[in-house]
């Protein structure tokens, strides 16, 4: 049976929420697995994370070095190639670090790669059956990965419930095994996202628009509705890419995390990157012309309609009722 490892992402001395989700994913591959967590970093922040993770994992491997002070996949990849045993299965969360690390790692380890895993059905011999999504979540697929030479898997955040912190493993300092690493990408700094004129993270009611708004001139339709409702306009990524609204209005993993009471998703398909920015269990109303849009799976209330007609009609009804 292959050894299973989880690479833990962390920030400011705290492990990411996915740390315990990866453990659940590992147990779905092999319920009896003894799972080793790998943490890289430097100083007291690293020690804090290692201690925290050791409360759940059977063992923690710690690698401390200045080159790991900022999580640079170009440094972590050669490290993992050096220290992972042959045939290992490595789990890392499907975030922008995982996207950076995993594909190249699978090549260097000659291992199977399955990214953005949303389900694990189990191992049969050396065939691991997993679930993923395609076409922006419109359809799912089962995939079979040949893990006889190992695997690199990137589970999607939130797709596996966090495991209980049941084990209690030793923290093993393996820093000496890192040796010299050739790194051809040098981290300089993080530039914080721009602050905009409104703070959508503090709003109770958001009228959010996606590509379904079709044209820049139609943004007004959303602004009118928001005004009538006493709400604020937010949006999905394509609206910001097109420069129709500023970045500070974007909801999602690469935008803002919002916690409204009511969220009107208008012409938004419901990609996981968008939904990743929606927290606090709001009342979600989805309006979309495609009855099969994935947004209807997570919404509380769904309306199949053309937003360019429905939104003005709703605005008018609200105005009349005032």
């Amino acid at each position: 049976m292959a050894q299973i490892f989880a690479y833990i992402v962390h920030k400011n001395g705290v492990a990411d929420d996915t740390a315990l989700e990866l453990l659940t994913a590992a147990k779905k591959i092999d319920p009896a697995a003894s799972v080793t967590a790998i943490v890289t970093g430097e100083g007291s922040a690293l020690d804090a994370v290692a201690g925290q993770v050791a409360k759940a994992y059977n063992e923690v491997w710690k690698f401390s070095a200045p080159v790991f002070a900022y999580p640079n996949a170009e440094a972590v990849r050669p490290l993992l190639v050096k220290v992972l045993p042959a045939g290992a299965i490595l789990l890392v969360a499907h975030d922008t670090f995982g996207m950076d690390l995993a594909p190249g790692l699978s090549i260097k380890l000659n291992a199977a790669l399955v990214t953005d895993v949303v389900g694990i059905e189990g191992l049969d011999g050396s065939t691991l059956k997993l679930v993923r999504q395609e076409f922006g979540g419109q359809v799912s697929t089962h995939v079979a990965a040949d893990v006889s030479t190992g695997a690199v898997l990137t589970p999607r955040a939130g797709s596996f419930t966090a495991a209980e912190a049941a084990a209690s493993g030793p923290v093993v300092d393996k820093s000496a095994e890192a040796g010299d690493l050739v790194v051809k990408r040098r981290f300089i700094e993080v530039v914080a996202a721009e602050v905009g004129d409104v703070d959508i993270t503090k709003e109770d009611v958001l009228v959010s628009i996606g590509r379904g708004i079709e044209e820049q001139d139609n943004i007004e339709i959303a602004q009118d509705l928001a005004k009538a409702m006493g709400a604020v306009v937010s949006c999905s990524r394509p609206i910001v890419d097109a420069k129709w609204l500023e970045k500070s209005r974007q909801v999602g993993t690469s935008g803002q995390t919002v916690k409204p009471k009511v969220y009107l998703a208008c012409g938004i398909s419901g990609s996981f990157q968008h939904l990743g920015g929606l927290k606090g269990n709001p009342f979600i109303v989805a309006i979309n012309k495609n009855a099969k849009a994935p947004i209807f799976q997570v919404a509380d209330v769904g309306i199949v309609a053309n937003i360019l007609e429905f939104m003005p009609a709703l605005t008018e009804a609200i105005e009349e009722g005032k």
């Binding site: 990214t115 395609e134 419109q138 040949d146 803002q256 609200i318």
Partner: protein, 260 residues
């Protein structure tokens, strides 16, 4: 700077409702509108802008079939200088690793300082760029939303990380970057532009030309089926006339504090 941009022809999800075929082994592909993968279009625009600044040329390459020629031509109409089609029946059943293997073989036939891919394609994998970089032993960066040339050996790049923050690094050339949407504003391609490149010769290379055999392309990962998952709780769908729907919705919004 010699730049290679990897592009893929995909069903346009904003134009199509994706449904399963009756056998459940594929999506229904009849009547689908195809276009160039959104992320790849940004990558080509970025390559053109870099070449406008520092000189060089842009080659667009795709692993596909005869129909993929149209996306190569579209990107050449945008301003890419050359197109390259990699097509062979042997390519059909491969996985992401296989696509990267094919692209690597094509890279070996030229000299490129910079290779761009999209961050993601229709399969949602985001894997080909990073795999290609590792096969070439080039440094890699994903979700890149800024590229500046420092000198002919180094780029200064930004990666869009969580929360919209930007991670700035320096990376050595040659390298592979996967491009995030929003890095630029891709230029519009009119029908006239497409006509201009309609008769440009696009070389096609098959497995033999690239020195690839079936063993090199054997997949480690296979898609078994397509399915639509049983809905979670699923939304309560409001039905009836627009007036009826709006009346119901207003009641709900009032109850939930959605109207002020």
């Amino acid at each position: 700077m010699e730049i290679l941009v990897c592009i893929k022809r995909v069903p346009d999800t904003s134009e199509n409702e994706i449904a399963l075929n009756s056998a459940g082994n594929d999506i229904e592909r009849d009547d689908l509108v195809y276009s160039v993968n959104e992320w790849d279009n940004y990558a080509v625009e970025e390559a053109i802008q870099i070449v406008d600044r520092v000189g060089g040329s842009v080659t667009v390459v795709t692993v596909g079939d005869d129909e993929s020629e149209e996306v190569l031509r579209r990107e050449m109409a945008m301003g890419a200088n050359k197109g390259l089609l990699l097509a062979d029946d042997a390519f059909a059943e491969t996985d992401g690793r296989g696509i990267a293997t094919i692209l690597k073989a094509a890279v070996a036939k030229g000299t490129y300082d910079l290779i761009l891919t999209g961050a993601l394609a229709d399969d949602g994998a985001g894997q080909v760029g990073g795999m290609l970089a590792a096969m070439l032993d080039y440094p890699f960066a994903s979700v890149v939303n800024k590229i500046e040339t420092v000198n002919d050996k180094t780029l200064k790049i930004g990666r869009e990380i969580e929360g919209g923050n930007q991670e700035i690094s320096e990376i050595s050339l040659p390298c592979v970057l996967s491009i995030q949407t929003g890095i630029n504003e891709p230029r519009y391609v009119g029908i006239r532009g497409i006509r201009k490149v309609a008769s440009v010769e696009i070389p096609t290379l098959a497995a033999g030309d690239l020195g690839l055999d079936a063993a090199a392309l054997a997949p480690k990962v296979k898609r078994l089926d397509y399915f639509v998952p049983a809905l979670g709780k699923g939304a309560e769908m409001l039905e009836g006339s627009t007036e009826e729907i709006i009346a119901k919705l207003l009641e709900m919004l009032k109850a939930k504090g959605g109207l002020k």
